[in-house]
């Protein structure tokens, strides 16, 4: 009952938190010479990711490299930071609703 949508949601949230960590790395390394922006191919990973497995890291394309070989774009990272957080919140709210539903069914509709 819970498996259908919630395993997809779980994978989605897993992937979002992995991506959020990469964003945090990119921000932390915004001043590291030679550092290349890391990212995951979100759609590809979502379609192919095996539960529990870490996604493949790719280097973000199309970013301008600075004189020290670093190509972190703080605006891009800020956008992704906010986007990931919002997406994660949506997913967790959905999952919560799903669990509430099951809870209600267990309690015979008397719960909430």
């Amino acid at each position: 009952m819970l498996n259908g949508i919630s395993s997809n949601l779980e994978r989605y949230m897993d992937l979002l938190s992995a991506r959020q960590k990469l964003v945090a790395s990119n921000i932390a390394n915004a001043d590291t010479p030679g550092y290349q922006t890391q990212d995951v191919d979100f759609q590809f990973e979502y379609a192919s990711m095996i539960q529990g497995e870490q996604p493949q890291i790719i280097q973000a394309q199309g970013l301008k490299t600075k004189a020290d070989g670093n190509n972190v774009d703080l605006d891009r990272e800020a956008r992704l930071l906010a986007e990931n957080a919002v997406r994660f919140n949506v997913a967790s709210t959905l999952l919560r609703g799903k669990i509430k539903l099951v809870q209600q069914a267990i309690q015979g509709g008397n719960g909430a």
Partner: protein, 142 residues
């Protein structure tokens, strides 16, 4: 759970930027220092950042974690020749009456300091975003 390690990554960024800011402030404070324990004028210091292969070696053993923190790999001293100013009355003046002062551009230091402070703020934002995510995932069980 990689959300908690994200906090570590962002915290490594904060600590690196803080070290950088400390160095810059030290540089500015010593802009006119002509005596040091090593002898000679103060030499401006600079930090070298390097990406850290693993923010938490413990969890790395159990899963191949993504993402890298940052650390201060080295603190380098400026080796360029000091600036000579003609001050014959100064106790540290050489035989010709010139005093060696640290070679420093305050504007450069200030811009660097601004950069360090902005980068620090970016890391703080990352921490609060991740904290928010952790909070929401805890709410699932409520």
């Amino acid at each position: 759970m990689s959300l908690f390690s994200s906090l570590q990554v962002a915290a490594s960024g904060m600590s690196a930027q803080r070290t950088r800011a400390e160095m810059l402030v030290e540089n500015m404070a010593n802009a006119e220092t002509t005596r040091t324990p090593q002898g000679g004028p103060y030499r401006r210091k600079d930090v070298v950042f390097s990406s850290d292969t693993q923010a938490s070696p413990f969890s790395a053993v159990f899963q191949n974690e993504v993402g890298t923190g940052v650390r201060v790999a080295d603190v380098v001293e400026d080796t360029s020749a000091p600036e000579l100013r003609y001050q014959p009355g100064h106790p540290d003046a050489n035989a010709d009456g010139y005093v060696a002062y640290p070679k420093m551009n305050p504007a450069e230091e200030m811009v660097d300091l601004l950069n360090a402070s902005r980068s620090y703020q970016a890391n703080v934002s990352a921490i609060s975003a991740v904290k928010d995510m952790i909070g929401h995932s805890l709410d699932i069980l409520k």
